[in-house]
């Protein structure tokens, strides 16, 4: 017996809709759960005073600083490298065995668990290069971790710029580099920015890499070679060692809000950019 398409359609919509509702509900539940426990703790004082007694009491000022510094350093290193690589791969090479190999390599790296990058950073930056547990080691390791994401997203963005724009630009006497700078990159920018923001998000949230490479000092860093602690690590240590669940949730809430701010400002920047161009 054949079921009428009218009914299979209803069943399909119900299942798909239920999946969506379920997913969104879980996400909202997690966010509300954390915010409910954390927001009462959050205050100006909490954010801008030093922790005391290993974080059992006091605020998270040094952690806030660490959480800003590490991703910033990671992006400063990874964004030019990643965007440069993707421009080179798309605009200056032909599809060949080598480019396919590079692409396969970046795909593999993108799937490597972050703790492997942490271990690599520990062995290479912390030990071999003697940078110790420091903002530098942590930032560079995070940079390597987010590099594949940035390369792949910017590559897609650059590739999706219409071929016609390039042709016109060449036909008006522009060199390849001029074409990249004046036509390809501006049009790929929203996609490129998305990749960079994903990278910022991933490095703000990262725990394993940071523990291995930046350590977990609670002091305010005075140089790039000081150890530091990020919110994610702070949260992990507070919760894991049972130091203070209240402060752990306070930190978690700040982390969620920080990620929200990063994403919103990126969207805002992108919209402004697109609006300005049109």
């Amino acid at each position: 017996m054949r079921i009428s398409p009218k009914y299979t359609q209803i069943v399909a919509i119900t299942i798909l809709g239920a999946a969506t509702v379920f997913t969104v509900a879980i996400l909202i539940f997690i966010i509300i759960f954390v915010l409910e426990k954390g927001l009462p703790i959050l205050s100006f004082n909490f954010l801008f005073t030093n922790p005391t007694d290993m974080g059992r009491s006091g605020g998270i000022l040094p952690i806030l600083i660490g959480t800003v510094l590490l991703p910033v350093l990671a992006i400063i290193v990874a964004a030019p490298l990643g965007i440069g690589t993707s421009v080179y791969l798309v605009e200056f090479t032909h599809e060949s065995r080598i480019t396919r190999l590079i692409r396969f390599g970046t795909d593999c790296l993108a799937g490597v668990p972050s703790i492997i990058f942490g271990l690599f950073g520990f062995i290479f930056f912390v030990t071999i290069l003697g940078m110790g547990w420091s903002i530098m080691s942590g930032g560079l390791s995070l940079a390597f971790m987010i590099l594949p994401t940035i390369i792949r997203t910017s590559e897609e963005a650059i590739r999706s710029v219409p071929k016609a724009y390039r042709e016109v630009s060449f036909s008006l006497g522009a060199s390849r580099w001029q074409t990249v700078r004046k036509v390809v990159l501006p049009n790929a920018l929203p996609g490129v920015v998305t990749g960079v923001v994903l990278g910022v998000g991933r490095s703000i949230e990262e725990t394993a890499v940071v523990i291995f490479t930046a350590g977990s000092s609670l002091l305010i860093p005075t140089s790039l070679f000081d150890s530091t602690r990020t919110m994610a690590v702070h949260f992990y240590i507070l919760a894991r060692e049972g130091l203070s669940m209240d402060n752990a949730y306070g930190t978690a809430a700040s982390l969620i809000i920080a990620v929200l701010i990063v994403n919103l400002s990126a969207y805002w920047m992108m919209h402004r950019f697109i609006a300005r161009r049109n």
Binding site: P162, S169, L172, G173, S175, N278
Partner: protein, 257 residues
């Protein structure tokens, strides 16, 4: 045709072969293009007319696996073999594409794109050339008050004339047109054709077209291509009234293609 042989040829194509990998797309093409006249390339799809057009500003260089032998002389210099800078060549031999393709920039920024790329920065000079180019493309009166508006919302025929203005700004000598009206309605098409008549006073124009009426209306010379071969090349009147070859006659009378 004999009367014109005294005029120096603008472009001379000598024995040009083009291969995409193993496939030969053009067979021993030889033809000459007279200056300040319109030459039309006609023929059924896949006959190689667009490919030939793209040999003239070396746009085929962008495609991998293309191999070209033979010569294309521009004012007596081989563009494939004279140490000619490819960017210089493309400034001399400009192109209008099938679909209007303004950049997603303002009207003004579109027109001066080629100038900026060439390193011209002076605002007065840019303004002056932009105005001249828009005037030559018959757009100045409509667009002079919204130069800094985006170009993409313009109607298609204005977009196409904007692309022509953008090209005129770099002062080309030859304009290649690759089916410039195929995305346009008949009224817009006739505007572009009128514009071509005006432009031929100053520019050598080569147009690829599917539209035989268009070829007969706008061109002085017509070349008929079929499967990578130049079948017949003569005065447009002769091609459309008394072609020498049977294939030409069959094509223009609509028996195939």
């Amino acid at each position: 045709m004999e009367d014109n042989t005294k005029i120096n040829d603008k472009i001379e194509i000598k024995n040009l072969d083009l291969f995409y990998g193993q496939f030969q797309a053009l067979n021993a093409i030889s033809m000459t293009i007279k200056p300040k006249l319109i030459t039309a390339l006609i023929g059924p799809s896949g006959c190689g007319k667009s490919t030939l057009l793209r040999c003239l500003n070396r746009m085929n260089d962008l495609i991998r696996g293309v191999r070209i032998t033979g010569q294309v002389m521009l004012d007596g210099k081989d563009i494939y073999n004279s140490g000619m800078e490819i960017t210089e060549l493309r400034k001399k031999v400009g192109m209008v594409f099938q679909r209007p393709n303004p950049f997603p920039l303002s009207i003004y920024d579109n027109v001066v794109y080629g100038l900026r790329v060439a390193g011209i920065k002076g605002k007065n000079q840019l303004d002056e050339i932009a105005e001249m180019s828009l005037k030559s493309a018959w757009l100045w009166d409509q667009l002079k008050d919204k130069l800094h508006h985006p170009a993409l919302p313009l109607p298609l025929d204005q977009q196409q004339r904007l692309c022509i203005a953008r090209l005129l700004a770099v002062k080309p000598e030859v304009i290649l047109m690759d089916e410039p009206c195929s995305a346009l309605d008949p009224i817009s098409t006739s505007k572009i054709e009128d514009l071509m008549h005006e432009l031929k006073k100053d520019y050598t124009i080569i147009i690829v077209t599917h539209n035989m009426q268009q070829a007969s209306r706008v061109s002085d010379y017509t070349a008929f291509y079929y499967i990578g071969n130049l079948i017949e090349f003569a005065d447009t009147k002769k091609i459309f009234t008394a072609p020498d070859k049977k294939q030409t006659e069959d094509y223009i009378s609509g028996r195939f293609g």
